[in-house]
């Protein structure tokens, strides 16, 4: 009976646990500012009770959180450029490989010197997690949202938090 309980716990663990290791502890000392959010299932459910459904921002997040079982964010702000290296991110990228993970979009902006990648984890043809790696000259951010993430709702958040709402691009008119 005890072993059944342990097996059941082991089977349930990956649902709420972080899906890949950040391994960025070496950057914490170098960063001028660090954001470290690590919220698992029970804490998320508890936090959801305090989200105000009447507030448009919080209502969106509350709706989004229904399928989420874990949120893990690390964001470092550096005073000088070149504090972090690509090797710091390689350890993360290596974990985000197929068939579990798919890189759905990557944006490299030489103008902003920003490189952002979005990965999606699928299990049984359902989204089971999202990873975002964003690297700027003086900022490094890694996100792992665990669970059935509604990407549309997640993208819809861009209209909130003071961010400009991105409208759909109208189809190009064919030239005659």
């Amino acid at each position: 009976m005890r072993s059944v309980g342990v097996l059941l716990l082991a089977a349930l663990m990956p649902l709420s646990a972080q899906q890949f290791k950040f391994n960025l502890e070496n950057l914490e000392k170098k960063a001028s500012d660090t954001v470290d959010v690590s919220l698992s299932g029970s804490t998320l459910q508890f936090a959801a009770k305090f989200l105000d459904g009447k507030d448009p921002e919080e209502a969106k997040v509350k709706k989004l959180m229904s399928g989420i079982v874990g949120i893990y964010v690390k964001s470092f702000q550096f005073k000088a450029e070149g504090t972090w290296s690509q090797a710091d991110l390689e350890g993360i990228r290596k974990q985000l490989h197929e068939p579990e993970w798919s890189r759905i979009v990557g944006v490299k902006s030489s103008e902003d010197r920003e490189n952002t990648e979005v990965f999606v984890r699928t299990e049984n043809k359902k989204i089971a997690g999202v990873a975002v790696i964003s690297a700027e000259a003086k900022q490094l951010t890694v996100v792992n949202i665990v669970g059935d993430v509604d990407l549309e709702s997640l993208a819809d958040l861009s209209g909130h938090f003071g961010l400009p709402k991105l409208e759909a691009v109208p189809p190009k008119k064919s030239k005659r």
């Binding site: 919220l39 009770k49 989200l51 919080e58 989004l64 979005v118 961010l163 991105l166």
Partner: protein, 98 residues
Amino acid sequence: MDWLEKELAKALERKEPSPDFAAKLTARIESEAPRRSRLFHFPRWMPAAAAFVMLATSGSLAWRRHQGMVAKEQVMLAMRITAGKLNHVQAHVREAQQ
């Protein structure tokens, strides 16, 4: 002195109690005293315990609320960061489409 005054004087005239009145009264007080104390006298520690329970309960509720608000703020911060990054990606993708 008319009849009314006579009646009043009669009604209000001093009457001595029976010789065993004091003994009866004392006996009755003694017989009722333990019953009263059982009904209305709490142990001395009871109010202190009640105050402690009330303080502990309200403190625990306040602490739980504080923890909930901190967790909520963390969720909102994580979502702000994620939305900001996705917003940036979307902007570039749409720019490329145009």
